[in-house]
Symmetry: C2
Subunit: 473 residues, 2 copies
Amino acid sequence: MSASQGLNDCSRGYATQLDNQDTLRHLRKEFIIPTKADLKSKTLANSASTSENDDQPCIYFCGNSLGLQPRRTSERIISHLTSWAKKGVYGHFTQHEDSNLPPYLHVDDFAAKLMAPLVGALPKEVALMQTLTANLHLMMASFYRPTEDKYKIILEGKAFPSDHYAVESQIRHHGFDPKEAMILIEPESSGSPTISESHILSIIEKHASSTALILLPGVQYYTGQYLDIERITSYAHNLGLTVGWDLAHAVGNVPLQLHGWNVDFAVWCNYKYIDSGPGVIGGLFVHSRHGEVDLSARQDGGAGFRPRLSGWWGGDKDTRFKMDSDFVPIPGAPGFQLSNPSVLDLTAVIASLEVFALTSMAAIREKSIALTSYLEDLLLLAPAAAEFDEKCLPYQIITPSNIAERGAQLSLLLKPGLLEGVMKALEDAGVVVDERRPNVIRVAPAPLYNTFTEVWEFVHIFKVACLKAQSGR
Amino acid sequence: MSASQGLNDCSRGYATQLDNQDTLRHLRKEFIIPTKADLKSKTLANSASTSENDDQPCIYFCGNSLGLQPRRTSERIISHLTSWAKKGVYGHFTQHEDSNLPPYLHVDDFAAKLMAPLVGALPKEVALMQTLTANLHLMMASFYRPTEDKYKIILEGKAFPSDHYAVESQIRHHGFDPKEAMILIEPESSGSPTISESHILSIIEKHASSTALILLPGVQYYTGQYLDIERITSYAHNLGLTVGWDLAHAVGNVPLQLHGWNVDFAVWCNYKYIDSGPGVIGGLFVHSRHGEVDLSARQDGGAGFRPRLSGWWGGDKDTRFKMDSDFVPIPGAPGFQLSNPSVLDLTAVIASLEVFALTSMAAIREKSIALTSYLEDLLLLAPAAAEFDEKCLPYQIITPSNIAERGAQLSLLLKPGLLEGVMKALEDAGVVVDERRPNVIRVAPAPLYNTFTEVWEFVHIFKVACLKAQSGR
Ligand SMILES: Cc1ncc(COP(=O)(O)O)c(C=O)c1O
Ligand SMILES: Cc1ncc(COP(=O)(O)O)c(C=O)c1O
């Protein structure tokens, strides 16, 4: 189903109307939207702005790369800094009456509990720790246990480079040859960079008997394609295979049901749609069935839990400070924790998750579908596209038009030679999007803080930018 | 050599005199010292304090666990938050004229350069990333490459639990049996928990032919013993063995010369003597000789670099955003990076390192030796100890008395039954130290912010606390 139907009204007034109907519009004020002057300023201090226009908020459609800052983030962080300043090491155990932050010792559980509904997990299936790529390695240490017969990892040919490197190095780590053991899924046709699910399933089937792990993106970073996680996971399970998911672009973007979909494990970062700041602590999901700890099995000489690379913070909380050398993991995802986590980072994540807790992923998704469909409509439909040669737009949307197969982001493939000029014009106009050279820009209206009017304005500015770049001006 | 000689003057006045002579005393004001009221307060907001005494700074001797907060930390963090709020994703590339923080893209190098002198490394030998235990795993993935003949890891029997678990799980990961492959160094005599270097060397020699890795602490967390890193490393190298160092309690405490000592690798955290906050991002050192990247070797079919678990942030900066799938690491420690790092955390580390840059590790060590020796003297020497039965102190210092074999910390073994009462009395008096059940308290005057007068006061309060606990009051 495409939402690109029946946009009759291409006026700015209609965008205003959509904003007025938006049930999440009150959430925009939870965020600090940079002004156009802010983006241009060479200082952090407020500069006397040069023009009235510069005082206007910019159009920030780059939440797929680095989300905007919730207003409450700095408040929460100052609370945390005050706690550390006033309590020192006692902060590990102190609950302050006038702070909603927990003692440091429990901040991991506290944050995981807030995160769980966003990914459709039980609280014990989520851990916030390390960073995406590190978590991917830690998960592979547990879930990629190759044997002579089953050693391959299936992933996309155009996986995010960090995932590619991580997989390649894991394969080498176990003494296999990436040339043989890395099965790269490439698009079927050279005309489209998206990958059909049937193609993915066919490759999984083809290599099933020699495959040890599948790694796929929930939402593909380049094309914005949203894969059917449940279907692919279930297909792989039927073949006895394990699937891990990179949810960098999915978490906070689309509603996930990781527990219900029976996902084995997943990893993500929290600096994109979660809005917790550059490089902030990441997250992981381990399905409850993989996180079990069975102490009776230990008495029989078994390990009693899945193999993993361990650290003290994954150890049972009651015995953690006894400092003995017998590792008994916390059941669930926290049992994969290694270290006492950054309270500063977790505080930023908690602040963001408080904003998410003001609504639901279902409501966010509903707005997101409307917002991105509106963007698609304005980009594609006449008369909105009438500025351009009929049927000859200087750009093409490579993201699937089926709303079930995408999240917030649309990726626009520009005609060769336009990217630099278009990006320059957008930047000059105070529009922030993300480029992927040579010819793609990724445009992601974030449902928590973006508006339909911004979409309308973006499309206007973008088309003028294309025309300018085309005419070489 | 013991410094415990010739303390003739046990008066408070003498402590004041030592403070007046302290060339680092101006650095104390760089830190926020909690007041006694702060420690007791149930709120973050300033409470109307109950007594004048409560307005006094507490005595914080717990920098070995969680260091105090530098005053500039919150300033720097607010700068960073402002940059993120005003620039969004442009913050990755923007240098603000009124901020001494670099663009996010270079914050890793910037912080590593500030850290390098503290550990005696070339800037390219340091990376700030992940957490201690994660870094230990990542280093072991590269440096622990067991074979059928050489597979053992030598470590202390009383290693910090996270190190023990990490090593154990790595051994299992490679299919070996920890019972056989973990060689635990235990103290020679049951009378003392410290381990002589000759004993360590003898165990290394005994297992040399079957050992793949040695892991040791620079400063032992429990006893405070400071090992001769250079000597042990060189001894192991002569036997063809690799040694990794856990420097959690050494960094920022004792001057290190990791490059000059030819150390293979080291890992540490930055929340103890570095003062960067609970769970903050960790650090690692890889000697330049292990970090080389030789592209010509690649053309000959070799890898061209040490094996490692990889991620995009370890890839050459110039090609990182080209998003291709050919991993070429940055030469040195940054080539072991996985992910874009937390700018929030690195900002906290940078703030701390700015304070360290106001002096030198040599000056810090000089004060530290004086401070800790003074603590030792007051604890042990008559007439200071005269409150107790002659020759029958209710505590014993288990940290080596040789100043070359210890850092800031003294570990006091209390007579059985005293710990709880002593800790309670110390807490009531606004003294923060760290307990290790059943009978040890660790006392660490931090040379950057502690004073001789605090040491004097601590000893007075501590002795009264012991007397009280002894008499069961
Ligand atoms: C000696 C030592 N090693 C390792 C660790 C574990 O550190 P992390 O939780 O940062 O991995 C600690 C923590 O206090 C420590 O003291
Ligand atoms: C899809 C995807 N995977 C992995 C990563 C790497 O994330 P990190 O640097 O946090 O490990 C990113 C970063 O943008 C990403 O977009």
